[in-house]
């Protein structure tokens, strides 16, 4: 929301309409609601399916959500500064493709992975230049790169790879980390989430992100390198998504350009469901982590209960809707009361 000169950030409702919220609302945090939902999901799952509360469910959830969760972290940071990145899933596909292609053509697996990450950095830099450098709207730009990256992947690797990747690595798609029931990608996510949480909530950089999200100009006048930070975030997003692409490829022990098609919406949904404001400035890592777990657990529960995939979509959508309505509930009531107050007989002035 950066390119409108005289306009205050959309989230801000100072003046204009009564914007104050009752004190009790500050106590009710979305994260709390999420925890309640999570407990609900677990109770529901275990009630409906005997096999739900099991180590394998836990492992499978991690296995399925791992890459999505990992991509959600940089997206969280990007949304915090009031931008968005819709190219994440395409980048996952592209990096996997590059890795697969190189490996197919005889380069060492490690070299292939390195190259994939490099592509991620370059792709992220492209987004960064267009958005932070030229100041183009991120939603439009990343829709463009969404197509571009997927297309590049298509060119590089029209047909899926056939050469089998080293089983020592592909076992992350089959086995949990030794001695645990935690999928590798999930483990990596947890580490990244902790780092991300510390950075966002306790460091100058994190504070800067919040400031940029709430009021870019004020941030700039406080000596915060707004554009440099945004650029950095997109490069980071590129690299992390490329990394997710590497994991995804290893997990599936093969690469194809279609990998992760359509996941961008899932990732965005996960972030928003985590209570992150699309306008920037407001959001927590805890929220995103919870939302990842809920979405994953819900999928497992519903699948095990043979619930139609379509129904699962409906559930996901409804949860997403709740995530924005519930925190607003207070305001809505407040406004309704205000409305009612006005409703008393309205006398029109008559010119004497």
């Amino acid at each position: 929301m950066s390119n409108t000169a005289t306009v205050p950030p959309p989230a801000k409702t100072y003046g204009g309409v009564d914007s104050t919220q009752p004190a009790w609302r500050r106590l009710v945090r979305w994260e709390v609601a999420l925890i309640v939902v999570l407990i609900g999901v677990l109770a529901f799952g275990s009630a409906e399916s005997s096999t739900f509360i099991s180590s394998s469910t836990f492992f499978f959830t991690g296995l399925n959500m791992g890459e999505i969760a990992i991509m959600a972290l940089p997206l969280l940071l990007i949304v915090m500064v009031g931008e968005i990145d819709l190219s994440v899933a395409s980048m996952l596909g592209l990096s996997g493709t590059v890795m697969g292609y190189l490996f197919q053509h005889g380069s060492s697996i490690w070299l292939a992975m390195a190259a994939a990450l490099l592509v991620g950095a370059v792709g992220g830099a492209l987004n960064g230049i267009l958005i932070a450098g030229l100041g183009l709207p991120s939603i439009a730009v990343t829709i463009g790169t969404l197509t571009l990256f997927r297309g590049a992947a298509e060119i590089i690797l029209p047909n899926p790879t056939t050469k089998l990747l080293p089983t020592s690595l592909t076992k992350i798609g089959i086995a949990p980390i030794q001695g645990t029931q935690l999928a590798y990608s999930a483990g990596i996510f947890i580490v990244l989430a902790v780092v991300c949480g510390v950075v966002l909530h306790a460091t100058p950089l994190g504070r800067s992100l919040v400031a940029i999200g709430l009021q870019p100009e004020a941030a700039q006048f406080s000596g915060i390198r707004v554009n440099r930070i945004k650029f950095g975030l997109y490069v980071l997003s590129g690299i992390v998504c490329a990394f997710a692409g590497v994991l995804f490829t290893l997990k599936n022990s093969s690469a194809s350009y279609g990998a992760g098609t359509g996941l961008e919406l899932t990732v965005v949904a996960v972030v928003l469901f985590g209570g992150v404001s699309i306008f920037g400035g407001r959001g927590t890592v805890a929220g995103v982590v919870l939302s990842v777990i809920i979405v994953g657990a819900l999928q497992q529960a519903l699948t095990q209960m043979h619930v139609q995939a379509e129904i699962q979509n409906i559930v996901t959508g409804s949860l997403l809707l709740l995530s924005v309505i519930v925190p607003n509930g207070g305001d809505v009531l407040h406004r309704l009361r205000a409305r009612l107050r006005v409703r008393d007989p309205q006398v029109r002035p008559t010119s004497a």
Binding site: K12, G15, T20, A23, V347
Partner: protein, 506 residues
């Protein structure tokens, strides 16, 4: 206006109350407007003036009290209702649509219609041009509002209000960004409106304007009505006393200090299309004022020095060493601080707490192992809150809940906390009441006494004359005069600001 009492009042607001959650913005908002009068509403920052205005505008519904127009009790369900009742408002902050043309901004929702209820643009532009003519301004009605200077934005606001031909015209600090000439014109227009029997409610922190233009004065303090009186029964001191609630010592405390060695050296600074060849220097222990009309490019000079904008050519030295171009970080590292013109957009993150705003420019210093230490943050805020006599409920409250003056203090604290060697302060007291004004001036004076160098941009001549050791005058982006405290007076500055060239130049 004593015969005014005999006439039926146009508008009466009686004992209106309004609170925003914890904040009691209005305890007893009362004002009576008679046809044909210009009525001043005065009060410190946060006295509740704008809140009162927004109640008249139907933006806020009062929690209590009653509102009468032409003797009938009315409830404004929204701005439309208020407008329908013949009340038109100029808000404190410009409320334009940057993407629409100036004319559309003026006539939004009331555009003249042609065949088939379609908007008749030609008629609309003509009508807009008429209003501008009335104001004696030349603005292209068909021009996009985006890119208008602060002043022009205010002009459009005024035109909007006038075009309504309202019975009651409310103006919340319309002159804050205007040149004297424009202000004079505005007053003429006010007079004609009064002659047509309209009432004008005029809010300003510039008391001299009030004395020039108004017949009656209503003073508010802490959201409550204090007194209403005819202007001729009042002196400036009476007004200030009832605003501040105490006697006020001098508005411009100024202790003479001997300037030390040069801190800032600006050499042929140029930014294409905005300003050209600006050269000057600022020493320790002196206040240098940058005067000129709004739109002269003073803020832009400040922005270029601080590195927000890149300079096209020229150099800036701090304590002798060159400052790299377009990098606020470098400027801050070199000991520069900039208190910007626009508090709400540039100075503060309105939704962050007071403490976090104060800390915003010093986060690195407050953190250990890259982690911000909240305790230190709070201490910092408390310290500066005390030193600047900040009025606030809780440090964690968002600054949006503070009044203009206190917000300005937070910005000051944020920069002083860095202990800068040069403070650039743009419009230090724009929209700030006399009480706080005096405080701010005392703070600035104290700072230079401690040996800080200050570059002050101000549109208020008294402030410039009262506080500056030297005065630089800009006209359309060029420096037209450098005046010593001795040479500087109303006339010499205005001549230079008008680009008429001062004696030595001629």
């Amino acid at each position: 206006m004593n015969e005014g009492e005999l006439i039926r009042p146009l508008l009466v607001l009686d004992g209106a109350t309004k609170s925003f959650g914890a904040v009691k913005a209005l305890v007893n908002g009362s004002v009576i407007l008679y046809p044909g009068e210009a009525h001043a509403l005065l009060g410190e920052n946060g006295a509740g003036k704008s809140t009162l205005v927004k109640i008249l505008a139907g933006v806020h519904q009062p929690d209590g009290g009653e509102l009468r127009v032409d003797g009938d009790r009315v409830v404004f369900s929204g701005p439309a209702a208020s407008r329908g009742a013949g009340v038109s408002i100029i808000y404190q902050e410009p409320t334009l649509f940057p993407d629409l043309t100036v004319a559309e901004n003026i006539f939004m929702g009331r555009q003249p219609l042609g065949r088939g209820r379609a908007i008749d643009r030609r008629a609309m532009n003509a009508a807009a041009a008429k209003v501008f003519a009335r104001l004696g301004v030349l603005l292209d009605p068909d021009r996009q509002a985006r890119g208008l200077s602060v002043a022009d934005q205010q002009i459009v606001e005024i035109a909007k209000a006038l075009s309504l031909d309202a019975k009651v015209l409310v103006m919340d600090e319309p002159t804050a960004a205007l040149t004297n000439v424009e202000v004079a014109r505005l007053f003429e227009v006010m007079r004609t409106l009064r002659d047509q029997g309209a009432a004008v409610l005029f809010i300003s922190h510039r008391l001299e304007e009030v004395f020039k233009s108004c017949q009656r004065v209503t003073v508010m303090r802490d959201g409550a009505f204090v007194r209403t009186a005819p202007i001729e029964d009042l002196t400036i001191d009476d007004i200030i006393r009832s605003m501040v609630g105490r006697d006020l010592e001098s508005l411009f405390p100024k202790t003479a200090t001997a300037p030390g060695d040069v801190v800032l050296e600006v050499d042929n600074l140029t930014r294409e299309k905005v300003f050209y060849d600006i050269s000057f220097s600022v020493c320790r222990g002196e206040i240098v004022a940058l005067a000129g009309l709004v739109g002269a490019g003073r803020s832009e000079v400040a922005r270029a020095i601080f590195g927000i904008d890149r300079r096209t050519s020229g150099s800036v030295r701090i304590n002798g060493d060159l400052l790299s171009n377009g990098s606020p970080q470098a400027a801050m590292a070199a000991g520069l601080a900039l208190v910007p013109e626009d508090r709400r957009q540039q100075g503060l993150v309105m939704e962050l707490g007071i403490d976090q705003n104060v800390a915003l420019a010093s986060m690195r210093r407050l953190s250990r192992f890259g982690i911000i230490r909240r305790s230190r943050e709070r201490t910092l805020a408390t310290t500066w809150g005390k030193r600047l006599q900040l009025k606030f409920a809780r440090l964690s409250n968002p600054v949006s809940t503070l009044s203009g003056g206190n917000q300005q203090k937070v910005v000051l604290g944020k920069w002083l906390a860095r202990g800068p060697s040069l403070l650039i302060i743009d419009e230090p007291t724009r929209g700030i009441d006399v009480g706080t004004k005096a405080e701010v001036h005392r703070i600035l004076d104290g700072l230079v006494a401690e040996g800080m160098a200050i570059l002050m941009i101000s549109s208020e001549l008294p402030e410039v004359l009262g506080m500056a050791d030297r005065v630089l005058v800009l006209h359309e982006g060029r420096m037209t005069a450098q005046l010593s405290r001795a040479e500087a007076d109303e006339d010499s500055i205005m001549r230079a600001a008008a680009g008429l060239g001062s004696e030595e130049a001629a």
